[in-house]
């Protein structure tokens, strides 16, 4: 299976889209080599703006571009995009509902060796709290490319959560992506695993293990954290047990969004796989995923506990 980081796919998608959509401009904050906006910058130097290490200026400048009909993609690491510039995103982008796309890379623990200061585990919670914001967390390279295109065509602010680490490709090129619509990747009846981002791959692995143990697991990919696909969550709830999985704090992200839907519409026993109210640390991405209980095995255990 091919492996590609979602940030790589972003860089390629952006350079392709730039050809087609002339209104796209790209802004970065001295991380274009890492966020992969450098691919676009090379191809369209006139439409690329390095803002220096100034994330607040980055976001509000993007807002100004959007008022003039441009489609700005603003990129930096997720922790700086959503943390440092949160209030700029709130007041200068989301409140006026400007057409800015925030494509943030290096989300989650799989940033690895750089450690906790660089591992964004609360960005989904922050971005999800903002009115007018659409929040997308793709699972692989193919989905990322489709999501970038969909975001460019969508009118309004979008947050795209991308990763540093290469991940296995799950989807075929003809996979259909629609903002706000989750996807059942595997039918099942005993338990539903609802996952986002790099945890989708783990969820699929977990379902195979569970199968051998006689548990028939449904796997649902939620690429759009907001607006959340309520229908698919309610369908998943028919299994009678739900495990959510995200490379993010268990507070305010996918698990919370799913729990909100279930609590009001169909209370269902559930467990959340995610970072448990703690910061990360330096290490190899795979080691960190194990250390913080973000693996297929952890999903399997959670599912079994629910079925006990």
């Amino acid at each position: 299976m091919t492996k590609i980081a979602t940030r790589e796919a972003y860089g390629q998608a952006l350079a392709e889209l730039g050809e087609e959509i002339k209104d796209i401009v790209v802004l970065d904050a001295d991380l274009s080599g890492s966020t992969k906006t450098s691919v676009f910058a090379k191809k369209f130097p006139q439409r690329f703006f390095n803002m220096g290490i100034a994330e607040q200026d980055l976001m509000a400048t993007a807002a100004g571009f959007a008022t003039c009909g441009k489609i700005p993609f603003a990129s930096t690491f997720a922790v700086f995009a959503t943390g440092r510039a949160f209030e700029q995103i709130r007041n200068s982008i989301c409140y006026p509902s400007l057409n800015v796309k925030i494509a943030a890379t290096h989300a989650g623990l799989t940033v690895g060796e750089d450690g906790a200061t660089h591992q964004s585990i609360e960005d989904l919670a922050l971005m999800r709290s903002l009115p007018n914001m659409t929040v997308i967390s793709p699972a692989d390279g193919v989905e990322t490319k489709k999501a970038i295109r969909a975001a460019a065509l969508h009118e309004g602010p979008v947050y795209l959560r991308l990763g540093r680490m290469a991940v296995e490709t799950i989807f075929d090129e003809d996979y259909e992506f629609e903002i706000g619509k989750g996807k059942i990747l595997r039918e099942g009846t005993d338990v539903a695993i609802i996952a986002t981002g790099i945890m989708v791959g783990e969820a699929l692995k977990a379902a195979e293990v569970l199968e051998k143990d006689g548990i028939n697991a449904m796997v649902v990919n939620i690429h759009t954290i907001k607006p959340i696909d309520e229908d698919i969550i309610l369908k998943a709830a028919e299994c009678g047990a739900i495990v959510t999985a995200e490379e993010h704090t268990i507070f305010g992200g996918l698990g919370s969004a799913v729990a909100e839907v279930l609590a009001e519409k169909k209370p269902t026993p559930m467990k959340r796989i995610g970072v448990k109210d703690t910061f990360g640390q330096s290490g190899k991405p795979d080691e960190l995923l194990k250390l913080y209980n973000l693996t297929a095995e952890d999903i399997v255990n959670a599912a079994k506990e629910l079925k006990r």
Partner: protein, 273 residues
């Protein structure tokens, strides 16, 4: 540059009308920011009634000049100018800050015709103005972008990020104003956190700097014209002003930053205006 005495008189009278609106609307709203609205009334009048190329019939006209009120709390001065310029009915002014109004406490571009940017959180407007100026350059458009900041507001770090950006990208289609009224909420700017020397700071950041009396219409117009001729760098017009200008009991009084006059006080103010 020759400005006819007729034009000057027209602008001065318009500024007076705008000051009257400010007092009336803030009094009617029962809250708001008269001090910083009054201090920038002459600058905003010059922009909307002499300088800026805008079309009230077509507020989103892509070729228009743009204005960003970075010190968004001075919304009343902008609303008064937009209403006087014909973007919406003057009756709207008395609905300021009321539920369902198109005139929110701080500027909301989604609901107010003619408003180019949502502001209110200080420190963000210069960046947005830069984005507009960059877009104009990219598309080879002739429009100019104006932005008004407070002298307290420039304590925000983001202003200096944006100041770097404007110079770095040689935004000579951008003209900024600092409403140098010397006051912020907790007292004089030099006591709270001195921004001085404002002129030297902008110079060091690569800007063209013009010093003026922000209540002298001729100086305002001349500075704006001069800015248009400066190539390769942005211009900031540091406009020395009086907070509360035009209403004697409000002038230079820090208390009148964010307090509405009573109806009695408003009456007294209107008599002097």
């Amino acid at each position: 540059m020759g400005v006819s005495s007729q034009t000057l008189e027209k602008l001065q009278s318009k500024a007076r009308t705008i000051r009257r609106h400010i007092v009336e609307m803030v009094a009617e709203a029962g809250s708001g920011h008269p001090g910083g609205s009054l201090s920038s009334a002459d600058i905003v009048t010059a922009l909307y009634f002499h300088v800026m190329n805008v079309d009230p019939q077509n507020p989103k006209w892509p070729e228009r000049d743009r204005f960003v009120l970075s010190k968004g709390h001075a919304a009343p001065v902008l609303y008064a100018a937009l209403a006087e310029r014909g973007f919406f009915s003057k009756e709207e002014l008395l609905k300021l800050r009321k539920t369902g109004s198109m005139l929110q406490g701080h500027p909301d571009m989604k609901v107010t015709p003619g408003l180019d940017m949502t502001t209110g959180s200080l420190g963000q407007g210069l960046s947005a103005a830069n984005g507009m100026a960059l877009a104009g350059k990219l598309d080879n458009k002739d429009y100019r972008v104006y932005v008004l900041m407070g002298d307290g507001e420039i304590q925000e770090g983001q202003i200096w990020e944006a100041a770097m950006t404007a110079a770095h990208y040689k935004l000579d289609n951008l003209t900024a104003f600092v409403d140098y009224n010397g006051l912020q909420i907790d007292g004089p700017v030099t006591k709270v956190m001195s921004p001085e020397s404002i002129q030297e700071k902008f110079k060091a950041f690569g800007w063209n700097v013009i010093d003026i009396d922000g209540h002298d219409m001729v100086q305002i117009l001349e500075a704006i014209e001069e800015a248009k001729t400066v190539k390769g760098k942005p211009t900031v017009i540091v406009a020395k002003t009086v907070k509360g200008k035009g209403v004697p009991f409000m002038e230079n009084q820090v208390d009148w930053h964010g307090k509405a006059p009573t109806l009695e006080q408003a009456k007294e103010a209107l008599e002097t205006l």
